[in-house]
């Protein structure tokens, strides 16, 4: 049995870390909106779509586990609880929610540049709750093993923290800044394929976990989308009006 670091009040600790992640992500989103001058009330509808879609996506992932268990209603509480920890379900739901929100608000602009750094930081913080309250990982004898197991959530926290720094560094270097989100999600999908091998998630078919199967479905679409990412033009920018006048 893989060790769990915090067993007392685990749900509360996890909930507080998720709340911290949401607060951190929300703050980064607000700063990025301000920095890019993208404040537009239609964005509020997109945010509503992201929040509701993310929440429903997470819970839906929990229900998938219930179906796997043969629809046993006595496991409903466990399925609900599991749905509070599904990052992939949340990301898929939030993505669909953003598309629906943009459609409803009549917002034709891509919003990935605003959300990418916020999601990365939010997940880095929120995953601390998973690290503390879930089985840390599969057995390992590596020097950095924690209680004889892979610190799998620390790997993931490190990935999202590094991605956050990289996204900040790259945010003005793409021809279409919204591609930041595509690049980040693709990198996360590839990383998740590997990190699942260090986690204690149940193997479903052909030696792969449910999360790995979800990633394998999404990855070709993301990689195809990545082929359209272009760096920003290095041509000298045109002088601003006030510079030209001066």
């Amino acid at each position: 049995m893989a060790p769990v670091l915090v067993q007392e009040h685990a749900a509360l600790v996890h909930g507080l870390c998720v709340a911290g992640g949401i607060a951190a992500g929300g703050a980064v989103l607000a700063l990025e909106v301000r920095r890019r001058g993208a404040a537009d009330e239609r964005l509020l509808v997109v945010v509503a779509g992201v929040v509701v879609g993310g929440a429903l996506g997470m819970r839906a992932a929990g229900l998938v586990r219930l179906v796997q268990a043969g629809g046993d209603a006595s496991l409903l509480a466990q399925a609900w609880d599991a749905g509070a920890k599904s990052v992939l379900g949340g990301l898929c739901g939030a993505y669909v929610g953003a598309l629906v929100g943009k459609r409803l608000a009549g917002n034709p602009h891509r919003t990935g540049a605003l959300f990418a750094p916020a999601v990365a930081l939010g997940l880095a913080v929120g995953r601390v709750g998973c690290f503390l309250t879930e089985p840390v990982g599969r057995p390992s004898d590596l020097p950095w093993a924690l209680h004889g197991a892979h610190p799998s959530f620390l790997y993931e926290i490190g990935f999202h923290a590094a991605a956050f720094v990289a996204l900040l560094a790259l945010r003005d270097r793409l021809a279409d800044p919204a591609d930041l989100l595509v690049g980040y999600l693709t990198a996360y999908a590839l990383f998740r394929l590997w990190v699942e091998t260090t986690r204690t998630n149940e193997v479903l078919v052909l030696g792969l976990t449910g999360s790995q199967w979800v990633v394998l479905v999404a990855l070709p679409l993301l990689l195809a989308r990545c082929t359209r990412i272009r760096p920003a033009s290095r041509e000298p920018r045109e002088p601003r009006h006030e510079e030209a006048v001066a």
Binding site: H9, A10, A11, L12, H14, G15, V18, A19, I22, E41, L44, V45, V47, A48, V51, V52, G53, G54, A55, L56, M58, R59, G62, A77, W80, D81, G83, A84, K85, G90
Partner: protein
């Protein structure tokens, strides 16, 4: 001299302050309504089942109310409040999974 119609800014649909207020109300309402109806059910005697069922249904009341307020014609304050209710409902759903289980376990144990 009046500006031509295309030069005037588009009318506001959502008042930002109302969105924040609605989000807080959404969180409080999504938690509070089921608890309130649950408490009523616990003292309602023969009609307790009705209030219990209403308590379950009430989890969706805030979301439905928010969608109706935000999507129907009305002042920016009213529409903003509705959008805030939707955001608050989603935030609570994101946060409350584990906390709900903890509460249920605590009440069952107590």
């Amino acid at each position: 001299m009046t500006e031509p119609p295309w030069a005037q800014p588009a009318p506001r649909r959502f008042a930002t302050g109302s969105v924040v207020l609605g989000a807080v109300a959404g969180v409080v309402g999504t938690v509070g309504l089921p608890i309130l109806l649950g408490l009523v059910a616990s003292v309602a005697g023969p009609v307790a089942v009705v209030f219990g069922l209403l308590g379950l249904v009430s989890v969706l009341v805030v979301l439905v109310l928010g969608i109706v307020l935000a999507s129907t014609p009305g002042s920016p304050q009213r529409r903003g409040f509705g959008l805030g209710l939707v955001i608050g409902w989603g935030l609570l759903l994101l946060l409350a999974g584990g906390l709900c289980i903890a509460l249920i376990a605590a009440y069952s144990g107590g």
